[in-house]
Assembly symmetry: C2
Homo-oligomer: 149 residues x 2
């Protein structure tokens, strides 16, 4: 089947399917006589696996790992679980960071009248001469995934 059909069937855009092939996440697809990529149901199944993993926020390299474990009949479930737990920790830390930002912002927003007057505790906080550290997390690893519609 054509890449467009495989894209609809898997929920991964044709663009991304080509990209995944390019970076080696999936093997190069078969080609028809005219050069079109040709996908089997098995290929689509793999693409669905990838999409599901992406929806759960796994990075491409993690998906690579998961795919190879999936294909390995002699895998140890411990290896899969390790990848999952690591990702869970990653999510946990990013969530904590954002929640910390949110708490601070909510406090500031609550203190702000939000009317026509110029006085504003939010700007007041941002302009703190000391460069305040407050409660908002400052340093943390970058986000993974993110569908960026």
């Amino acid at each position: 089947m054509n890449i467009g059909i495989a894209a609809k069937a898997s929920g991964i855009s044709a663009k991304m399917i080509r990209y995944y092939e390019q970076i080696g996440l999936i093997p190069a697809a078969d080609r028809t006589a005219s050069g079109y990529r040709d996908y089997s149901d098995t290929d689509v199944h793999t693409l669905c696996f990838i999409r599901r993993a992406r929806d759960l926020g796994f990075s491409v390299s993690e998906i690579e790992e998961l795919l190879s474990l999936w294909r390995d009949r002699d895998r140890q479930s411990g290896d899969v679980k390790r990848v999952a737990l690591q990702h869970i920790e990653e999510l946990r830390s990013r969530i904590a960071e954002m929640e910390s930002m949110m708490t601070t912002l909510e406090t500031l927003a609550d203190a702000c009248a939000g009317d026509h007057r110029p006085d504003c505790p939010i700007l007041g906080d941002l302009a703190q001469p000391g460069g305040r550290n407050s409660s908002a997390a400052a340093k943390a690893p970058p986000p993974r995934n993110s569908p960026s519609v």
Copy 2:
């Protein structure tokens, strides 16, 4: 003062200060006779403002808006609050998305023995033929900020 000093004083790297100048977030710095950028205490104060806003997860365009409100003596605090509340909603939605992922992953990880045996509910879920939708959020706007180390 030199860019290096301003960088240390503000907590923003020299690289990023040049970048912010390039994209117009901050005006072009004065130059010494030899071409070095020259910063005043006021400039550093602005940089600190920017850093604090970034630590709270505001995007560059939001910071642009906040900076212009900060400089506007006739601003209305309602405008500032609107920016903040919008960002809070953004954070809230991203957190919800990640929490949904985490919940799903934790359930799967709990169900996985994590030993030497190959049977694995995590892979089982990812390989669902239907392309499952489950509870994990699939679509959401891209993350802002993110200190990336």
